[in-house]
Symmetry: C2
Subunit: 250 residues, 2 copies
């Protein structure tokens, strides 16, 4: 069996964050498979098959990729950001776990990419400079009570918190509920950073606080960062200030 | 003032994870500043100054970089992995915060890179596929009691946990203490992944569990990953098995 399956991170937005490893995998692949807006970001090559699918069919997409790799093809499953962080890598291994035994013999390689969280943090300064958590607010596949539990422990542990999937069309109130919960546990002046469409032309970066943040500015493309007790602001005269989380807590 | 300060992530190990953005910054810089082993990884260029320093002088290094950028030079401060994650970005903004007011007028850009945690996760499969925390075990700059508090909340919140700086020459027992604490809160069969020198020739990947992990295998170059209740193993016949954290918790 000579097929291979690459699970490739494209990074957020444009090609400035596309690693050489990912570039090489995309060049070698016979088939590019992924959510339509990620497949669009891969440069077209003659002879390469492109299979774009809807966002909510991760497991079908993973199975299709595994079938093709089993048939001897070199397949690249593409994700925005890092495929290992709330993205396709987990779906592919879930499909392997539940699928045909010979899929376990496949050569599957995960190729990490810059995550949305890291690109967002870079825009603000260094908010992830110390201990942090990443939490997805999507309750499609987990109960909201588990999300609440994790938000509570993240707050009580004084972690910097990165929130993925803060809102969706199906359930737009996740982020309202999350902020309500966090306001009971954290001071209102905690920094909140909203990073929208990072790396794309419509990129927007908003710095606020827990008691002043405008949830109307948060959509599906937004990564939300919430500071810890060690996150400090550096005001500037003619530009947006920076925030950073101090390395020291002594 | 035409100087600029780039805070550049080199990614872990070799150049396969060096982003185009980082490559361009390294090519433009007059001065490359960083911990010696990171500066060594930057290809030499005629006319470029290279300032390599010891690992424990981050703030001095940051000030030197800020002085040079203030004098009109293009300066690249380099970090392994992502400079925003337990690395130089935080030190630079700390220096700005405490330093000369005109440093706030500088053009400072953080350029994210693939972090050690992400590269390590990619080797194991998809352990970071769902909610996770990153915690540094170094108590150089924070009290051990705070580290304990964060480990407890990470465990009680059922997060996947990535541990940075699990051991140091000055205090080799951090990881022993951390595992003792976690064993009181988590079942012994929780997966523990040790990723050593990822991306380098000496790379080594060990999959174990909380009750069987051999701490003698953990050194300064090791990134430790601890699974959540949703982290599952996929055994394989002729290769190391994969682990992944299921997207679903229903």
């Amino acid at each position: 069996m000579s097929g291979r399956l690459y699970i490739v991170g494209l990074g957020p937005g444009d090609t400035r964050w596309l690693t050489p490893e990912a570039q090489e995998a995309l060049a070698l692949a016979h088939d590019i498979i992924g959510y339509a807006s990620y497949v669009e970001r891969v440069p077209k090559r003659l002879g390469q098959t492109r299979l774009a699918s809807d966002n909510r069919v991760e497991i079908d997409r993973a199975r299709e990729a595994l079938e093709r790799a089993s048939a001897g093809r070199v397949v690249a499953v593409v994700s925005g950001g890092d495929p290992g962080v709330f993205a396709m890598a987990s779906a592919v291994f879930e499909a392997v776990d539940a699928g045909a035994p010979h899929w376990r013999d496949l050569d599957i390689r995960v190729m990490p990419g810059v995550s949305a969280m890291q690109a967002a943090a870079a825009r603000f300064g260094a908010p992830l400079g110390h201990d942090f958590c990443a939490i997805s607010l999507s309750d499609n596949l987990k109960p909201w009570s588990l999300i609440e539990k994790r938000l509570e422990h993240a707050a009580l542990g004084d972690f910097v918190i990165a929130l993925y999937n803060p809102a969706s069309r199906a359930r737009p109130t996740q982020i309202l509920d999350a902020f309500s919960l966090l306001r009971k546990l954290l001071p209102g002046e905690r920094f909140v950073g909203l990073a929208k469409s990072i790396g794309r032309e419509t990129e927007e970066v908003i710095l606020s606080t827990l008691d002043r943040v405008d949830v109307a500015q948060i959509d599906m493309s937004t990564l939300v960062l919430i500071g810890s007790s060690g996150t400090k602001a550096i005001p500037r005269n003619n530009a947006r200030g920076w925030i950073y989380t101090a390395r020291s807590a002594l």
